[in-house]
């Protein structure tokens, strides 16, 4: 909303610079985006001039050489306007004047003739639209009169961003009331308090009729009739105001409707009554698929909830949004039907969204105006039509109202509540002053106030708390609000255990050399395909957005891997030769949170404040597992002069993942497992207590190729089961010092198709409780063990909690281990 300062001051003059007022408005809740200037930035060097002579330019058909009296003397000005003529009183910019946009006017030679200034057209001053000819002023004005005394030059304009609750501030008068409230400067009389004489013939009913078929969507429809209307350009002051407010002047009737809307926030619409057959208007819902051409020349298809204003031949306008071309006011119009209606805001919002059509009118109607505003607008517009168009008002207002609308709202404002909510005291007298300035009716009731809400604020101020906001902001929050902290006993802040573990996991991955990235939650629907995920895999069926910004961001990711590959590809394209990336974030699976995932959450996440678990009543629409995913390209440890620099492979990443699990106190299981996007021989399924939680492996070469990468290795695992199995922070003490452990190594030759994990499991099973650990530390394949066999070396630790183990006990266990290994085809190397 652009508010020209001179217009505002007509109703309330705060007696301060516009910038100062802007600061006050900002601090009381009216967002002033900036203060700009309409027209030339400064009024200097703009004067009234008299054209003494206008001769044809010797060398240019379209130029005239004028002699102009500027009050100080005569000067020569070359002018291109066709209508310039001797005897005219004109607006002159002298050399040195700053034109709109800031450019400085200089003396110039035009086709060999020196020109000392410029005779101005309306648009050159930004006081109107007209560029066809120069501005001709009232001849009574003396040459040399500063132009700023005649026209608004350098008009400060407050650009206000009106919040959706304050539809009243979509009118200059509403802003003036706000200025009155916050500064105390007097507010002039209501501009609609007028007595407009009705001198037209007959009454409005003789000329026109209105039927409303959808009263719930059109609470009020008023119309007045004007005869003997003379269409023409608006006077300069009106054009200047509209121009400064950002509206294009069109003709006097249309300009008046815009002017009144900008003043009161209530939109109006003028019909050429002679183009409305029988003067009969009907307000009805559109038929689904019905079409009409709006004022902007576009044919639009409507639906059954769209409300139309129709004449006997069909639609003339989309109610509250835009008029039609059929009955537009034109140069030949002599009789005007002035519509001022009230529409259902929700419906207008819906329609304007549906049609993608937002107008000055719809943006006001959609915020719900009060029906009382209709007659205010009629009154002001009537006065202006009489004044500026020579029109005659026909007696009577056609006024079709759905029913009597709500009576003015009555609220109680409790003093205790004001203090209790704000934490500051505002006296009853102050509260009364602020509310009365804002237009509320106020009556004291003991310490409290009985408040009547004015129609402008009817839909905005509906509760006591809304009044508290009004008095607080006018009183001055910035100036008066104390600074305190909540005095609530017995609360304890902190992270839940799971949240602490999450931090631990992220720190762990970082300490293992991985850079954290934040990838897009969106991806393109083609990503699962590039990951070679088959179409029947749930991951190839992501949650799709109905209104994405682009195809590339139209699906919710089902893997973190895709995001990591994107990040890797971008970095490699920029020259990175080694990358170690991780992301700790969610993926979005296209099913509700049911089944195992939910059970895991229920088991591991107690409800309540310190558990960090606030599920609420309704389950989330989709499953959003939190994940840890990592991707490495090139060496984890950079190459140096001592060598190294081997690219990270399966085991490099497995070491990282195992280390992560160890930091959390969880044990992972790895088994051969395939994923469509992984190297089939170098990938594993990761599980905890037998339940799968993710994958690890070298990325399939065809997938790497899709992302223009040579090779990469990664993993992606669900956080919840990992953190659920973690013992970090809740470990129990175990005595490992009182009785010494026995350490032994063991080498077993085994067919190479037996997995190392099976060998280890066989050893651990046979060793029983006394075998505390068994870890593979060497692998040998070659002549000594024969074709198809490998030798694995394991380090064993035997320990009893309550005694020192004897050789006999250990030998017995070793024998059991030997037999156990033989069952899986292994022989001990002694």
């Amino acid at each position: 909303m652009r508010v020209p300062y001179s217009w505002l001051r007509e109703y309330c003059d705060p007696g301060m610079a516009p910038e100062q007022l802007a600061d006050r408005l900002v601090m009381t809740g009216t967002e002033v985006e900036r203060v700009t200037v309409a027209g030339p930035p400064q009024p200097d060097n703009f004067v009234v001039g008299k054209v003494l002579a206008a001769e044809q330019h010797p060398d240019a058909d379209r130029l005239r050489v004028c002699t102009v009296d500027d009050g100080d003397g005569e000067r020569t000005i070359v002018c291109g306007a066709p209508n310039v003529a001797a005897g005219q009183t004109v607006a002159v910019a002298l050399p040195g004047a700053r034109m709109p946009g800031g450019e400085k006017l200089r003396k110039a030679k035009l086709r060999g003739v020196a020109s000392e200034g410029m005779i101005l057209a309306a648009d050159e001053l930004e006081v109107g639209e007209d560029h066809d000819g120069i501005l001709v002023l009232d001849e009574a004005l003396a040459a040399g009169t500063p132009l700023a005394e005649v026209l608004p030059l350098a008009e400060p304009v407050l650009e206000i961003e009106v919040t959706p609750n304050r539809v009243d501030c979509f009118g200059v008068h509403g802003v003036a009331r706000e200025v009155h409230a916050i500064t105390g400067a007097p507010l002039g009389p209501d501009p609609w308090a007028l007595e407009v004489p009705a001198e037209g013939e007959g009454t409005a009913d003789d000329y026109a009729s209105v039927a409303v078929e959808v009263p719930e969507l059109c609470p009020r429809f008023t119309a007045r009739v004007f005869t003997e209307v003379e269409i023409g350009p608006s006077p300069l002051w009106l054009q200047a105001r509209l121009a400064a407010a950002g509206q294009r002047p069109i003709n006097n009737v249309v300009d008046i409707t815009n002017y009144v809307m900008l003043l009161t926030a209530q939109p109006l619409h003028a019909f050429d009554l002679d183009k409305v057959p029988s003067g009969a208007l009907t307000v009805r819902a559109a038929a689904a698929g019905e079409k009409m051409t709006t004022l902007d020349g576009v044919e639009r298809e409507l639906d059954a909830e769209t409300v139309l204003v129709c004449d006997e031949n069909g639609p003339t306008g989309i109610a509250g949004v835009m008029g039609g071309q059929v009955s537009e006011v034109s140069a030949t119009t002599t009789r005007v039907l002035l519509e001022v209606a009230n529409w259902n805001g929700t419906n207008i919002l819906r329609t304007s969204r549906l049609l993608g059509l937002r107008s000055e009118a719809s943006s006001r109607f959609e915020k719900q105006l009060h029906p009382d505003l209709c007659l205010r607008a009629q009154e002001i517009a009537s006065q202006l039509l009489l004044e500026l168009c020579g029109a005659k008002l026909v007696a009577g207002t056609i006024d079709v109202a759905a029913a009597s609308w709500a009576a003015p709202r009555q609220l109680v404002l409790r003093a205790a509540r004001v203090k209790g909510l704000l934490g500051m005291t505002i006296s009853q007298a102050e509260q009364t002053t602020y509310l009365e300035r804002l237009g509320f009716g106020v009556e004291a009731d003991g310490e409290d106030l009985k408040v009547t809400v004015p129609p402008d604020r009817h839909y905005d101020v509906t509760r006591e708390v809304d009044l508290i906001e009004e008095v607080a902001r006018v009183h001055g929050i910035d100036e008066h609000l104390p600074t305190t902290l909540p005095a609530v006993a017995g609360r304890v802040g902190g992270l839940s255990r799971e949240q602490r573990l999450r931090r631990r996991a992220e720190d762990g991955l970082r300490d293992l050399g991985f850079d954290q990235v934040v990838g897009w939650s969106f991806t393109d629907p083609g990503e699962p395909g590039r990951l070679r995920i088959p179409a029947d895999d749930p991951r190839a069926n992501p949650v799709l957005l109905a209104n994405p910004l682009s195809e590339e961001q139209s699906a919710m990711r089902t893997t973190v891997l895709g995001s990591l590959l994107d990040v890797a590809a971008r970095n490699v394209a920029r020259g990175a030769d080694r990358l170690a990336l991780f992301e700790a974030a969610s993926v979005y699976l296209n099913h509700p949170p049911t089944g195992r995932n939910r059970d895991v959450e229920a088991r591991n996440r107690p409800v309540g404040a310190l558990a960090g678990n606030f599920q609420g009543e309704r389950a989330a629409p989709f499953t959003e597992p939190h994940r840890y995913a990592a991707l490495a390209l090139g060496p984890l440890i950079p190459r140096s002069w001592r060598g190294g620099g081997e690219p990270a492979d399966f085991f490099a990443l497995k070491g990282v993942l195992e280390s992560l699990a160890r930091q959390l106190g969880a044990e992972l299981e790895f088994a051969p497992g395939e994923q469509p996007f992984l190297h089939p021989g170098r990938s594993a399924a990761v599980s905890i207590e037998g339940a799968p939680i993710g994958w690890i492996g070298e990325i399939h070469p065809l997938v790497c190729r899709e992302w223009d990468l040579d090779a990469a290795v990664g993993f992606e695992i669900d956080a919840a089961p990992l953190l659920g199995a973690a013992s970090a922070g809740i470990e129990t003490y175990e005595d490992v010092t009182t009785f010494p452990a026995v350490y032994q190594d063991l080498a077993v030759v085994i067919p190479d198709e037996v997995a190392a994990s099976d060998v280890r499991a066989a050893v651990l099973a046979a060793g029983g409780e006394l075998l505390r650990s068994a870890e593979v530390f060497d692998l040998y394949a070659g002549e000594q063990v024969g074709e198809g066999r490998v030798s694995l070396a394991l380090g064993l630790e035997f320990r009893a909690p309550d005694r020192t183990l004897t050789d006999a006990e250990v030998n017995e266990l070793r024998e059991a281990i030997k037999q156990s290994l033989e069952k899986i085809g292994g022989t001990l190397r002694e």
């Binding site: 508290i468 109905a546 609420g616």
Partner: protein, 352 residues
Amino acid sequence: MLERIEEIRAEAGAAIEAATSSAELEELRVRHLGRKAELTTILRGIAELPAEERGKVGGAANGARKELEALLEASAARLDASELDAKLLADRVDVTLPGAPPRPVGHAHLIARTTRQIEDVMIGLGYTVAEGPEIEHDYYNFTALNHPEGHPARMLQDTFYVQSQPEVLLRTHTSPMQIRAMETQPPPIFVIVPGKVYRRDSDATHSPMFHQIEGLAIAEGITLADLQGTLLALCRAIFGDEREVRLRPHFFPFTEPSVEVDVSCFQCGGSGELAGGERCNLCKGQGWIEILGAGMVDPNVLGFVAEHGYDAERVQGFAFGLGVERVAMLRHGVPDLRRFFDNDVRMLEQFS
């Protein structure tokens, strides 16, 4: 015989003391004390000597042998030390070569780091942390937050909707968790909600995905002044002890009164001018930087959770929403929001 023993002792002694390597020393040991050495032969032949000579010769020969053995030991120690020195010197390295690279340390993303900093400040103020779904019901994102169907306030945030379910959307703020949290826990409640949020908007200052931290405090007697104090504590912890905050009235559908909160500029100290007199670029000469939106939780919002113990006549409180990227941009001078999601490692590695 005695003269010969003395000769051997003197000659061998001199040779041992003059030896320059342990190999030479070994050779001398074999030559003078070995099985075939003269002195050994003498000692071995003592029994065959006449009785009166045995004592003298035996004493002299044994004395010579002991002396030579002692000399050999001393020389060996001397030679070992100097030989080790020589060997170590030969084992010299070029100390100016670079050190062996350790496994590099990774870097926390600035978003994650900033989130954690803010969380820690709020935890210190007595808050717990709640997280929730990013794909959310319209009910939690709008309806229960006092954005009725068809209300223009819904237009404030351009929303992504899910294709398969018209009532499901990508949350436009972390505020839906206000409702989930209150449904889960009766008052008093003090929670913060960090997380991703989504709006259908993309340019240098708007990203379709960004991060917020929501704060919610509901109990008896919590006031707007308490909100100011809490935000002052938060802003000082993040931006420095000298900071001030100011609350400007504003409009949000789910708070009443609503405020926008500015923090005094930490580049110019709130004056709007830099030392040289030019306009501060950070606050654009205003001295204040808009940092978050907040307000007293609207009674209508509490109405949606009334059955969970939130009676708007009895309890009240505040909520605020802070943009994590905005805080990170201000604190670290990041010029463009999109840099956070570009994940260029050269940028990531600037922040330890």
